[in-house]
């Protein structure tokens, strides 16, 4: 350890001295809303769709059966000739594409990821009110770098089990011990005169597929 334990003692000592006279803190209040959206799956799904589009993700609705051809079409439309396949991705999802598979076993190097055109994943959760998909490195998602380096990310959301309305509904369903990435539209910046520009470092194209059975 670089820092001597005395710095720890010093900082903690200063904190305790600073608070010596402080009265108890007031109770934390949580009377804010659990959700801002009516409890109706179709409404929640429409809101997710709308908010994803608002942040310039492509949104597609389909059935499980139609998924391979939908994914195949999306990859082809974007001219993707190679696709990163995270461990645990259902094999059928890519059955409609002839893009070259890049499996992450052994792990692809950053340069190899950079040379891949696309990545296809599932997700852990989608949040309607914020237009967000959440990845937690679970099966069919892979480690974080896989969805970061390729320029096209196609993300499949299971409408029946993975859509919640709000943030207060989302957090209890996630496991804090897993590395988690919340994605709301493609990479963007407003650093130049506040003009929003899609795509700086993350995937410049995000296609979300909402699958219902």
């Amino acid at each position: 350890m670089t820092s001597p334990s005395s710095s720890r003692d010093r900082v903690l000592g200063r904190v305790r001295r600073a608070l010596a006279e402080a009265p108890e803190a007031p109770e934390v209040t949580r009377d804010y809303l659990v959700t801002h959206t009516p409890d109706d799956p179709a409404t929640v799904l429409d809101l997710l769709h709308e908010n994803l589009v608002d942040y310039r993700a492509g949104v597609h609705r389909g059935t499980r059966q139609g998924l391979p051809s939908l994914i195949g079409r999306l990859l082809a439309d974007h001219g993707a000739r190679s696709v990163v396949v995270p461990p645990g991705l259902p094999g059928a999802w890519l059955a409609g594409s002839d893009a070259r598979r890049r499996y992450d076993d052994p792990p692809l190097t950053p340069a190899e990821l950079d040379s891949a055109d696309a990545v296809v994943t599932g997700c852990a959760l989608a949040v309607a009110e914020t237009g967000t998909v959440v990845l937690d490195a679970g099966p069919g998602q892979g480690r974080r770098a896989l969805t970061l380096v390729p320029d096209l990310h196609i993300c499949v959301v299971d409408v029946l089990g993975q859509v919640v309305a709000s943030l207060p509904q989302a957090l209890p369903r996630l496991d804090p011990t897993r590395p988690t990435t919340w994605i709301s539209g493609p990479s963007a910046t407003s650093d130049i005169e506040l003009d929003r520009v899609e795509g700086v470092h993350g995937p410049r194209t995000l296609e979300v597929v909402l699958v219902a059975d």
Partner: protein, 474 residues
């Protein structure tokens, strides 16, 4: 805080320059007005905003009240998850720790994601002195770094540069730092962003060490949270083998659940979005995913002094959203650099003099760099009563005995600057009279003995600036 700002002229001298720079004023005005209108719309979407704001305020007050316990909790949780925790009493110690950690990896360059804490400590300069090159990867920070400049806004550090200036900087400087700007680069934002993507990608792909701050750290789980837009944060947090995060001790929230409040209030207050494009959360290290080594450096650097001040400590609730900058009539005219610290605008006016003390001219002048209009309080997602703290700090400056005389002069010049810029003042007073009736006389909640009982005073400043000035100085 950083040596970068030593010898800064006091607020009015620095502001004078900005006021005479028409490009800067135009950029600032456009930017702040654009963001403030968008923010208002994003906030209006949530009809429980006032309750989220109150919850955020109380979560932060609660955390600060028991900060020693929560710091120990964070340390335990991060350590249990495979990370190593370091404690830095001041900027120098933080920089020393980071430099040693980088050297131990054998690397001589690092990639950095925008972090106010490391700007505060002057980490880049400290690393440079040790032969380590730190590459800023946020687009705005890149513009600032390539331009040999200082950031002027918390969220949009290059707000003072327009697209033509950015193109010129990219053309002349990118080659010095790595991949040059593409031939024939124009000044369209999309092309400039593409140039930055290409320039930085080679650095990300070969980076072995990443340096970040964090927006939040969760005590119960040891989880760190970084909120961003561009994906450079994800690059720095994910691709390197070693990650070093330098985080102020006030960034703690007690529970995982607390994020449900701040992830609603921060993006809407800051970029006026329902949610920013990317949020990364990680807990220690994970086998086969991301850095194999994780170091957390907990930074004090004046925060415990701030914590000791019962009025001023509320500044530590700040989640750095920058909403207060965008509504401030003084910031709009003076520009970010006039505040002489990494924290500009209203939050800078109360945070810098507390972190650094009021011994220097710039720090003594900052509490006067305001018309006390209260617009900052109104938009603050954690309800920091900035005018209240400003008035409190003015009293402290005025009480400073010996060197008080010199500092009093600075204070007077600052106040005069405001009087000489009636637009700043009038905008402020107009806003104040419009909003004052919205400000509760008492905040809801139990008992007069609550920790923030000083806030039972009227939330708005007790008297308009002109009256205050007359009574105290005329």
């Amino acid at each position: 805080m950083s040596g970068t700002y030593l010898g800064m002229p006091s607020f009015p001298e620095a502001a004078r320059e900005a006021v005479h720079d028409p490009t800067l004023r135009g950029n600032l005005r456009h930017a702040t007005h654009t963001i403030r209108d968008k923010r208002a719309r994003a906030v209006a979407e949530l009809d429980d905003w006032a309750r989220l704001r109150e919850a955020g305020k109380r979560i932060k007050d609660h955390t600060l009240r028991y900060l020693d316990r929560y710091l120990v909790r964070v340390e335990e949780a991060v350590t249990a998850a495979g990370g190593t925790v370091h404690w830095a009493a001041d900027a120098e110690e933080a920089n020393r720790i980071v430099a040693d950690l980088v050297k131990a990896t054998g690397e001589s360059e690092v990639v950095k994601v925008k972090s106010m804490a490391t700007q505060e400590t002057g980490l880049n300069e400290a690393l440079e002195a040790e032969g380590i090159r730190a590459y800023e990867t946020d687009l705005a920070e890149l513009i600032v770094q390539l331009g040999g400049d200082r950031p002027s806004h918390i969220l949009v550090p290059a707000i003072h540069r327009n697209r033509g200036e950015i193109r010129d900087i990219f053309r002349s400087e990118m080659g010095e730092w790595g991949r040059p700007a593409p031939e024939g680069l124009t000044d369209t934002p999309a092309e400039l962003a593409e140039a930055a993507r290409l320039h930085l990608r080679e650095k990300f792909l070969r980076a072995r060490v990443g340096i970040s701050g964090a927006n939040f750290m969760v005590a119960e789980t040891g989880t760190l949270v970084v909120v961003e837009s561009e994906g450079n944060g994800r690059m720095c947090l994910t691709l390197p083998e070693t990650l070093i995060s330098v985080v102020g001790i006030e960034k703690i929230v007690p529970t995982w659940r607390d994020l449900e409040v701040f992830l609603q209030t921060l993006p809407r207050s800051s970029t006026a979005e329902r949610m920013n494009p990317y949020t990364s959360m990680w807990t220690g290290t994970t086998d086969g995913d991301g850095p194999r080594t994780f170091h957390l450096v907990l930074l004090d650097n004046g925060r415990t002094d701030t914590l000791a001040d019962e009025v001023g400590r509320q500044a530590l609730r700040c989640i750095r959203c920058s909403a207060c900058l965008n509504v401030c009539p003084v910031y709009e005219r003076a520009g970010g650099h006039a505040y002489g610290s990494v924290y500009p605008g209203p939050i800078g006016a109360i945070l810098s003099p507390q972190l650094r003390g009021t011994g220097s001219e710039i720090d003594a002048s900052l509490p006067y760099a305001s018309s006390l209009c209260g617009a900052c309080y109104e938009v603050c997602p954690v309800a920091i009563d900035i005018p209240e703290v400003l008035v409190h700090l003015r009293e402290k400056v005025a009480d400073q005995g010996g060197k008080g005389h010199r500092l009093e002069g600075v204070a007077m010049r600052t106040a005069t600057w405001l009087l000489d810029h009636p637009a700043a003042l009038n905008a402020g007073e107009r806003l104040a009279s419009r909003t004052r009736k919205l400000h509760p006389k008492r905040l809801p909640g139990p008992g007069a003995r609550e920790w923030t009982n000083s806030r039972d005073l009227p939330a708005m400043p007790p008297e308009p600036f002109r009256d205050w000035w007359k009574k105290n100085h005329a």
